[in-house]
Each structure stands twice: as structure tokens, then as C-alpha cells.
């Protein structure tokens, strides 16, 4: 049985790599990532320009600035690092179903059987190159090593000329020249080996196994096996996360919307790129805002169909923030996308063309952003008698028929144009109201209100009136808004037009709720 093959993909200078992924424009500056506050902040990592100025990890920020006055400093950002780590894992999952998340910009992949996917002379090398290219496309400068154990793969990933493939059985040779500290021995064992004069992993591996076990105990024996390239730790695959996150801690609090949308757009672009790489789309977007001094706010945006359209998502965020401003300066944010499978459709050769599910989802989301909730959807009937009733549901058209068929002949029915809300009217009847039942309208005119100025003007003498038709609905409800007790009339006015009027029996007021058209 061939030994397991494990790949280790790692991001050198992880805090810096994560920052540059979020702010790629900083790559042209001398940049350091620092940890701590004020003058006590210490450099954690610096880019090539900073390093060439003599800046090293561990320097304080004032020391670093003394070496390079134009230095740009950014503090470590957990949000950026978390998102970069997730992006790295997603890249790895494109190449292997078993990926272990070890944090800090490192992941292990099970690459057994990879030769079925990469047919060249050196499939592992091809895999490594492909994975590095995929990571770079996501803004992650990754390095990769492949070996038969996790430790050897990790060390191979740290060597120059990435990707590095360690042939099976040669793990010990790779480890031999490295200092013993790379094995992270216990303090007591490290002191003992120091006294013995053992400096490198190779020196330690040459010692007889039985002697090491008798002098250093079980821990020493395990460490010795590791030094000989034997690492029995298996890969522990991670569970795919239910959501996708992208966010950032901001250097300065943001007070207005435009700068926030600028940084938010970049985060949404990264989020949608990750969703696309996994073949998913966003069906609900949550925005978490960290507010100054210590507030937190979460808002949720439900989408009518799964989408990956950045412009649409950004418009929805803008509309939501305009409608409900956060009320305090924003110091950080996180976008959380709840993924769903995008809609799929089978195209027909002979039937009517089906709508492209992707285009439809994007269009629905854009319409939703343009018009707001409750204004886009597929209409449905609602039980009841009130003509203004309706329900809107998500538009998911069934697939078109496989063969084009002839249209049904029209029924030639007269439709009613519903007036929502009904137009309030003043109506003259032959007898004073309440004198007799069912007194027909003789003349109508609109109630003079500011609202009615923008509504269809319904005015004139009644030529013909037909009715009344009683309508009673919701009588069992205690809420007045749910009850309807109306007396309907169809009237034709001398000024033109046939209208549907009703008198509310409870209030005695008249309304027009439809035009026959």
C-alpha cells in the first residue's frame, strides 16, 4: 500500500498577506502590520519594501518609522485574517475534498489519487502549480509542499522554489539540516538535547531509537520518530461552513455612507468571488456593523432569488443604510452571505426559450433594489371576496413546455383596473342618505384632498347605475381593517367611463375601487 500523500499550503507572513488581500493598493507602499497600541506597537510582518529598508519583526513602530519615514502601518485585523483563511481553505477544497484547517494561513490537503486529475509526468507538481495559481487569483500568495507526512509537507512548503514535492521515503532528508527547534520539543527534552550537543533534526535522527526511548521516555521516542520523517497524524477534514464571511476593521471611524460603500464594495466583490468559486449564490446577506465606542448592529437583507451580482448587493446595502442609518460612527463591518444553489434550467430545442436562471435572479434582485420589498413577484389569489386582495410570491416560473403550442383563444372578457387604494368620493343620491335602502348614485365627484389630486378624477352625472351588490367579508374579525361590509354599484358617467363604486355600510362613505377598462 502506497503511503498517504499530504499537501500543505501556507501563506508566508500571514497577517501581512491577509491585509494585502483586503487592501491590495497598499502593495506599492512600504507596509508593516503591527500588534499592540501606540508606541508599544511591534512589527509583526513587513512587505518587501519595508524589509529592504531594514525593518524586521519585533521592532517597535517608532523604531520602524525611524528607518523608513514613509512607512504605512496597519494593525492586525482578525476579520481580514479570518476571511483570508476561509478563502485559502476554499481554494484548497477545489482540489481535494479533505482539507484540514490549521489556522494562521495554513491548511493541509489529502492529495491521494491526484494522478487521476493531473495526467502529466509529475501530477503532484502540476497540482502544486495549479493550486498556487488559484490562490494567487484570490489575492493569496501561497506556497505549497507535498510529502508523506504533515510535518514534512509543512517544512517543504516553507522552502524556496515552491511548489516542493518530497518523494515518498525522503522526508528524513528534507528534515535533516533543519534546527531541532522546528520539531517544537518539550522544554526538558530540548535542554537535554542541548547538553548532548544535538543541534539539528538530522543529528537527533541518527541517535539509536532504543537509547533515546530509554533516556527521554515516550515523548522523546515520539519526537525521534518525527525527526526520522515518521508523522502518523492523520488529516482531520473540516466541515464546510454554513455561511461565507468577509469584513474589515477600519483604521478610522466612518461617518458617511460613500466611504463605507467604497470599502464595502471591495469586500462584497471578494465574497461573491468566493461564492462563485464554490458554485453558490447569496440568498440572504447579513451586515454586521461595529460602532464606536462599543456598539454592534446587525441587519439582514433577504433576496428574492440567489444572486452573486455585486452591484445589486451593494445597492441593497445602500438602500438599507439610507433607510436606517447606524446612528454612530462605524469602526468595522462583516458581510455574511447565506449561500444557496443558483437556479438551474434545462433549455428546450423545440419549446419556448426558458429564462436564464442566473440572469433572472440578478434581474429580480436589481428590481428588488430599485423598487423595494413587496413590489416584485408573481401574483397569487387570496381567499376572500374583496377585489383589492392579492398576494405576491417569489417568481419561479415552471419550465416551458417541450414543444411550442398554439395560444388559447382569448375569452374576450372585460377587465377591471383596480384603484389601490380606493378613491374617496362624494356621491349624490336621489333621496337623502338613510331615507331608503339601496338608493342609487345620481352624481359623483371626488372628495377634495391632497391625496385625491394625484388620483384619477372621477366626476360627473350618472348615466346608468347597476346594483347594489352586497359584499360582506371578514365579519368574524375583530380588527376593523379586516372587515368589509359594502354595497357595490357599476355606474357609467356622462363624462365617460364605467366605474365600480361602493358604499361602506358602516361609515356610509363612498369610494371608487375600479374602472372597467
Amino acid at each position: 500500500m502506497s503511503p498517504d500523500r499530504i499537501a500543505c499550503v501556507s501563506l508566508p507572513l500571514f497577517p501581512l498577506a491577509a491585509r494585502l488581500r483586503s487592501e491590495p493598493e497598499l502593495s506599492r507602499e512600504a507596509l508593516v502590520v503591527v500588534e499592540g497600541n501606540g508606541n508599544a506597537a511591534r512589527v509583526v510582518a513587513g512587505n518587501r519594501l519595508a524589509r529592504s529598508a531594514g525593518i524586521k519583526a519585533g521592532l517597535t513602530l517608532p523604531q520602524a518609522r525611524a528607518l523608513c519615514p514613509k512607512l504605512v502601518a496597519r494593525s492586525r485585523d482578525e476579520e481580514c485574517e479570518r476571511a483570508a483563511q476561509e478563502a485559502l481553505l476554499e481554494v484548497a477544497e477545489r482540489f481535494s475534498p479533505r482539507v484540514e484547517d490549521t489556522g494562521e494561513g495554513t491548511a493541509f490537503l489529502d492529495v491521494n489519487g491526484i494522478e487521476h486529475h493531473f495526467k502529466g509526468d509529475s501530477p503532484e507538481l502540476d497540482l502544486g502549480r495549479s493550486l498556487i495559481a488559484a490562490a494567487e487569483a484570490e489575492g493569496l500568495p501561497a506556497r505549497l509542499g507535498i510529502a508523506s507526512s504533515k510535518l514534512a509537507a509543512r517544512i517543504a512548503a516553507g522552502l524556496p522554489d515552491s511548489p516542493v514535492v518530497v518523494p515518498p521515503g525522503q522526508e528524513a532528508e528534507i528534515l535533516a539540516p533543519l534546527p531541532l527547534a522546528r520539531l517544537s520539543p518539550e522544554v526538558e527534552i530540548a535542554e537535554t538535547l542541548e547538553r548532548w550537543g544535538v543541534r539539528s533534526i538530522g543529528d537527533f535522527a541518527k541517535l539509536p531509537q532504543s537509547r533515546v526511548a530509554s533516556r527521554l521516555g515516550k515523548s522523546g521516542r515520539d519526537l525521534h520518530a518525527t525527526a526520522r520523517g515518521i508523522d502518523p497524524r492523520p488529516i482531520i477534514p473540516r466541515e464546510p461552513p454554513p455561511t461565507f464571511n468577509e469584513g474589515m476593521n477600519l483604521e478610522w471611524p466612518l461617518l458617511s455612507l460613500e466611504p463605507f460603500l467604497f470599502v464595502g464594495r471591495a469586500a462584497l466583490e471578494r465574497l461573491c468571488q468566493r461564492l462563485e468559486a464554490c458554485g453558490l449564490a447569496c440568498v440572504r446577506l447579513e451586515l454586521g456593523l461595529r460602532l464606536e465606542p462599543d456598539g454592534h448592529q446587525t441587519r439582514s437583507l433577504d433576496l428574492p432569488a440567489p444572486t452573486r451580482d455585486v452591484k445589486t448587493l451593494l445597492t441593497l446595502v445602500r438602500l438599507d443604510l439610507e433607510a436606517r442609518p447606524p446612528g454612530a460612527p462605524v469602526v468595522g463591518f462583516t458581510f455574511t452571505a447565506h449561500p444557496d444553489r443558483p437556479r438551474e434550467a434545462q433549455l428546450s430545442l423545440y419549446g419556448p426559450a426558458a429564462l436564464s436562471p442566473d440572469k433572472l435572479a440578478t434581474t429580480l434582485a436589481r428590481l428588488f433594489a430599485l423598487l423595494g420589498p413587496g413590489r416584485v413577484g408573481s401574483p397569487r389569489l387570496v381567499d376572500g371576496h374583496r377585489p383589492e386582495r392579492f398576494a405576491l410570491v417569489e417568481f419561479t416560473p415552471p419550465p416551458p413546455p417541450e414543444v411550442r403550442r398554439a395560444p388559447r383563444p382569448g375569452r374576450g372578457l372585460l377587465a377591471v383596473r383596480v384603484l389601490r387604494p380606493p378613491v374617496a368620493l362624494e356621491v349624490l343620491t336621489r333621496e337623502p342618505a338613510g331615507t331608503t335602502e339601496d338608493e342609487p348614485p345620481v352624481e359623483v365627484r371626488p372628495v377634495v384632498t391632497a391625496e385625491n389630486e394625484k388620483r384619477p378624477k372621477i366626476e360627473g352625472a350618472v348615466r346608468v347605475a347597476s346594483g347594489p351588490w352586497g359584499l360582506e367579508d371578514g365579519w368574524w374579525s375583530e380588527a376593523p381593517a379586516d372587515r368589509a361590509d359594502r354595497e357595490y354599484w357599476d355606474v357609467e358617467l356622462t363624462t365617460g367611463g364605467i366605474y365600480r363604486l361602493y358604499r361602506d355600510r358602516e361609515s356610509g362613505e363612498w369610494f371608487a375601487d375600479g374602472i372597467y377598462d
Binding site: G351, P352, S356, T363, L367, L370, L371, G374, V376, G377, S378, P379, R380, L381, P387, F390, A391, F395, T396, P397, P398, P400, R405, P407, R408, G410, R411, G412, L413, L414, A415, V416, R417, V418, L419, R420, T436, D438, P440, K454, P456, V462, R463, V464, A465, S466, G467, W469, G470, L471, D490, E492, G496, G497, I498, R500, Y502, G514, Y516, D517
Partner: protein
């Protein structure tokens, strides 16, 4: 002197939308053809392909029609006046005031499209759709996307998005006057027409007055409505239907003024829970002779 009819079609100049691919030009013949060739040779290279004789233009349009058959509306008057239905890739405007039958014609067109399995969209600026009435007319609600904008600007933007999504039929109804947002600018309608052309969608605009300017491929006007009432002579009046005429205002192959009748029958609306007692006499305003016909007839003019 030449009397060759030369039509200059300027595509893609007013807007940023891409111009549709032009078919190769044929070699013109005859006296008019020679004149056309002279004009072409005098034009810059990039303009030559945009200059066509009426015959060439007509042939191109006929080829397009053969390739993309029109979308039947199931309104006999509309289908007859539009030579079989709504042309795909074009804007057709149906103008009609209150109680002109315009809204019924729009819904019947939606019913025809959805009944054959096409997805259709209604951009309803007046927020006037009654789903129950739509079902009665035969609309398959599952295939209908209902968009309820609040002003004309939103309606135009939404319509353009729907055309871009690939809907075979997009109906834009501006509602009863006053239209929220006015008439819009002609450039907006031109943009819609070009978008419909680029995506091959049939775009039907229903408006109380003419709004689309010169960009519509056809403009029809629904008018001369007459209400049809049943009853009288002691029995209750019932709305029986509506009779109107649809008239051509602009069409490539028809003369203005040609018209067809539009007859609509009233459905069972509003929902009747219980019929009321026989109403009191209410026909005093009408001449007695006009209340005698049975079972369906017009009372007065519209």
C-alpha cells in the same frame, strides 16, 4: 434627377447600446440603385452600412419576421391590425383612455403569451392588476412577473431590466391618468425600443395618451367605447360588456385610420354575495326608447 427612395437608418448613434449586426448589403439595381450607389460612395466607410434603400430595409424586416414569428395576442382586433401579433424586438404602443378596453387587451395578451409557456412580465405603474380577473382572462400567474413601480422613471428602468433578462413579452401599463411621472423623455423610450430590439422581446406599452414619440413600430388607439347594458323596463340593469374600436395611428404596412372592433363581455365582477332587492327606478335620465333592447345593447355613446 433621381426619385429613389432612400432611407437612412441611424443605429446606435443616440444611445450607448450596441447596434444590431447589419446583414451584408446587396448590390442595388435600376435607376434608384445607381443613385443609392452614388450616395454610398460619397459617404464615409462607417456610414455606408447604415444607408439602405426602402426595398432593402423592407426585405431585412421581412426576413426578421420570418425568423422570429410575431407573438399572438389572442385579441382578434390586435392580431389583425398587427399582421398576426406583436412583432418581437419592437415596441408597440396601445393608447386608450378610461374604459377603452386597453387594460383588457393588455391582460389578454399576457394570457396568450403565458398560455403557450412563455414567461411574461407586467410593469404595472397604476398598480391596477386584480389577480382574480387575470386568472379569469386566462393568465397563468406562475409565468407572470408582476412589477409595481411607483413612478414612470422606475417603470422605465424596470422594463429595461426585464427586457435584458430575456422575457419574451414585457407589458408596460402606465395606468389611468394622471400618470405618475409624466410622459418621460423620448430618449428613454428610444432606449427601451433599442433594448427590445437587441434582446428580441416584444414590448407592449399601454398608455392613456401617446408617449413613445417616434420610436414605436406601431401605434394603435383604442377608442369610441360604448357600454353595453342589459335589463331595463322594470328589471335591474346589468353591465353586459363594452364595445370599442382599435384604430391604427402608425404602422409600417397599414394606413392610419384602419380600425377593427373590440368586443368585451363583462365577467362576474364584483363578487356577488347576494343579489339586492329590485332597485328603485333609475332610468329617468335616459330616453325611454333606449331601454328596450334585450339581451345586450349599447346605451348612448361613450
Amino acid at each position: 434627377m433621381t426619385y429613389a427612395l432612400v432611407t437612412l437608418t441611424i443605429h446606435g448613434m443616440a444611445l450607448s447600446l450596441p447596434a444590431p449586426a447589419e446583414p451584408p448589403l446587396s448590390q442595388p439595381s435600376g435607376r434608384g440603385g445607381a443613385a443609392l450607389q452614388r450616395v454610398r460612395s460619397a459617404l464615409p466607410e462607417e456610414m455606408r452600412a447604415r444607408l439602405r434603400s426602402a426595398r432593402e430595409l423592407d426585405r431585412t424586416l421581412r426576413d426578421e419576421e420570418e425568423e422570429h414569428p410575431p407573438l399572438a395576442t389572442a385579441v382578434p382586433a390586435l392580431d389583425r391590425l398587427l399582421d398576426g401579433g406583436l412583432p418581437r424586438g419592437h415596441l408597440v404602443e396601445l393608447v386608450g383612455g378610461r374604459t377603452s378596453g386597453r387594460f383588457s387587451a393588455l391582460l389578454t395578451t399576457l394570457a396568450a403569451a403565458t398560455s403557450v409557456g412563455e414567461s411574461a412580465a407586467l410593469v404595472d405603474l397604476g398598480d391596477a392588476l386584480d389577480p382574480a380577473a387575470a386568472v379569469a382572462l386566462g393568465v397563468d400567474l406562475e409565468r407572470l412577473l408582476w412589477v409595481r413601480p411607483t413612478d414612470l422613471k422606475e417603470a422605465l428602468a424596470g422594463t429595461e431590466m426585464l427586457i435584458g433578462a430575456g422575457f419574451a413579452l414585457v407589458v408596460l401599463d402606465l395606468g389611468a391618468p394622471p400618470v405618475r411621472g409624466g410622459r418621460g423623455v423620448e430618449a428613454g423610450w428610444l432606449r427601451l425600443a433599442r433594448s427590445a430590439r437587441a434582446h428580441g422581446s416584444a414590448l407592449l406599452v399601454g398608455s392613456p395618451y401617446r408617449v413613445s414619440g417616434t420610436v414605436a413600430a406601431a401605434v394603435l388607439k383604442a377608442g369610441r367605447p360604448r357600454a353595453l347594458w342589459q335589463g331595463g323596463e322594470g328589471s335591474p340593469w346589468l353591465l353586459g360588456g363594452l364595445s370599442a374600436r382599435i384604430e391604427v395611428e402608425k404602422h409600417r404596412r397599414r394606413l392610419p385610420g384602419q380600425s377593427e372592433g373590440l368586443d368585451l363581455v363583462a365577467a362576474d365582477a364584483p363578487p356577488v354575495v347576494k343579489p339586492a332587492a329590485p332597485p328603485a327606478p333609475r332610468t329617468a335620465e335616459l330616453p325611454a326608447a333606449e331601454h328596450t333592447w334585450e339581451p345586450l345593447r349599447a346605451v348612448g355613446g361613450g
